[in-house]
């Protein structure tokens, strides 16, 4: 009887895994690539989701030879970035972080939001935590610049757990145990996120102007001011420079 229950649990979890939509990959083995945190395009399942300042678009790509726009929502958020996680879209805007469910595929449904002062705002997230950088400036708005950590276990009500002030934050990327935050000419900050809600600064890589990053398998791909640099992140908290490609 016990065996049967175990088998049943196993079977159900396999079925459940099957339900997870095919979101952006974290590795070279995935059929979908991975964007940086400043992207305005992303793919989940058979849809390209895109944002422009005031619109969220869904394009059905079930048949790539015949892409069809199936939805266009006008949203007055001043949207800047879109980040996929499982069947969710995390939209960074100048007024806050907006979380959408794409269970329905074609029409994303708003399921949570965390408003903030006007600023620029890329975001990365998983099931329980979201990290966003806000850059208050004359151009973006007056919010406090820094890394914002939200508890999103209850998507309907994200809770701000921590704010780490930073001078000039831009893009960011998350690996299992590390968070990489670009700070332009102030360097790339590496945080230990074993305690997800309380990132611990481990090191800063200086000397290059960092704009955005993609942790991809064991390589950290960085968009720097004068090119692209690659780091080995086999040890995620100790990136080692392996290549710089100049513009």
């Amino acid at each position: 009887m016990k065996k049967l229950i175990h088998l049943c649990i196993l079977f159900c979890s396999v079925i459940y895994l099957g339900c997870e939509k095919n979101a952006e990959g974290t590795s070279a083995a995935s059929s979908i690539g991975k964007g940086g945190s400043l992207a305005k395009f992303t793919i989940i399942g058979n849809y390209v989701y895109a944002v422009s300042s005031h619109y969220l678009y869904s394009i059905d790509i079930t048949d790539p030879s015949h892409p069809v726009k199936v939805n266009q929502s006008q949203l007055n958020y001043d949207m800047e970035t879109i980040y996929p996680y499982k069947n969710r879209l995390f939209i960074g805007s100048k007024t806050g972080l907006y979380i959408y469910s794409v269970d329905t595929g074609s029409s994303p449904r708003l399921i949570g939001e965390a408003k903030h002062g006007r600023s620029c705002d890329p975001v990365v997230a998983n099931d329980s935590v979201s990290y966003s950088t806000l850059k208050g400036s004359t151009f973006c708005g007056p919010a406090t610049s820094g890394l914002y950590v939200h508890d999103i276990k209850n998507l309907n009500a994200p809770i701000l757990k921590k704010l780490i002030p930073l001078n000039d934050p831009v893009g960011l990327g998350m690996a299992d145990s590390a968070l990489y935050v670009c700070n332009n000419t102030d360097g790339l900050k590496v945080y230990d996120i074993k305690n997800a809600y309380s990132p611990l600064e481990k090191m800063t890589i200086q000397g290059l102007g960092f704009v955005d990053v993609i942790p991809f398998d064991n390589i950290l791909i960085c968009w720097i001011n004068d090119g692209i640099s690659l780091y080995d992140i086999t040890n995620q908290l100790q990136p080692v420079l392996i290549k710089k490609i100049s513009n």
Binding site: A28, G35, A39, K40, Y57, S65, F139, I214, L230, D232
Partner: protein, 188 residues
């Protein structure tokens, strides 16, 4: 005491500088503004079919302005907003190098699934087959889907700062050249 209003004015003028697109104002009927000519950027227009043509070149191209990055399998892509997409071979990361350039005018975004590359060509969504590097080509296109991508396309404004001739949004800007222009639009 005098400094604060000036600072405020300065901050506000920078803030509103992002609104350059709306500053192409016609003079009231029967009047005309003195239009001073200065050295600036002038838009180069192309026919729609030529402007939207996608071309893959299997040689590295100089970076005009670096944009978003994207990773797919052994490749890294970097958008050159308005001009195209740089392709980097990352099979051996310590020897990663630029190998080609997808010329796609008016582009700003990228996403890839199953060797199909999705990008925008001005306000169109365009799908490219990326399965064979010797034959990267457009396979389909959804026209005019991104309502805000056309006039806000990165190529709708010049690569550098300064005065520029306000573009005609009814046409397709394919490049910018230095020339004498009437000082109406300004990019900070």
């Amino acid at each position: 005491m005098l400094r604060k209003p000036f600072l405020l004015l300065f901050v506000f003028s920078i803030y509103f500088s992002s609104c350059w697109r709306y500053r192409n104002i016609d003079p009231p009927p029967g009047t005309s503004y003195t239009q001073t000519k200065v050295l600036g950027y002038k838009p180069v227009y192309g026919e729609e079919s030529a402007a939207k043509k996608i071309l893959y070149k299997a040689t590295p191209s100089p970076v005009i302005k670096a944009g978003n990055i994207y990773a797919f399998r052994n490749y890294i892509f970097q958008i050159d907003p308005g001009y195209g997409i740089h392709v980097i071979d990352n099979s051996i990361p310590s020897d990663a190098k630029r190998i080609g350039f997808i010329e796609a005018k008016g582009c700003s975004q990228i996403s890839i699934k199953n060797d199909k590359l999705y990008t925008n060509s001005y306000d169109d969504l365009v799908v490219l087959d990326f399965s064979d590097l010797n034959n990267v080509h457009e396979i389909s296109r959804a026209k005019n889907v991104f309502v805000e991508y056309r006039n806000y396309s990165p190529i709708a404004q010049p690569p550098g700062s300064g005065y520029f001739e306000c573009p005609d949004y009814g046409k397709f800007v394919v490049d910018w050249k230095r020339d004498s222009v009437i000082q109406l639009c300004f990019k900070y």
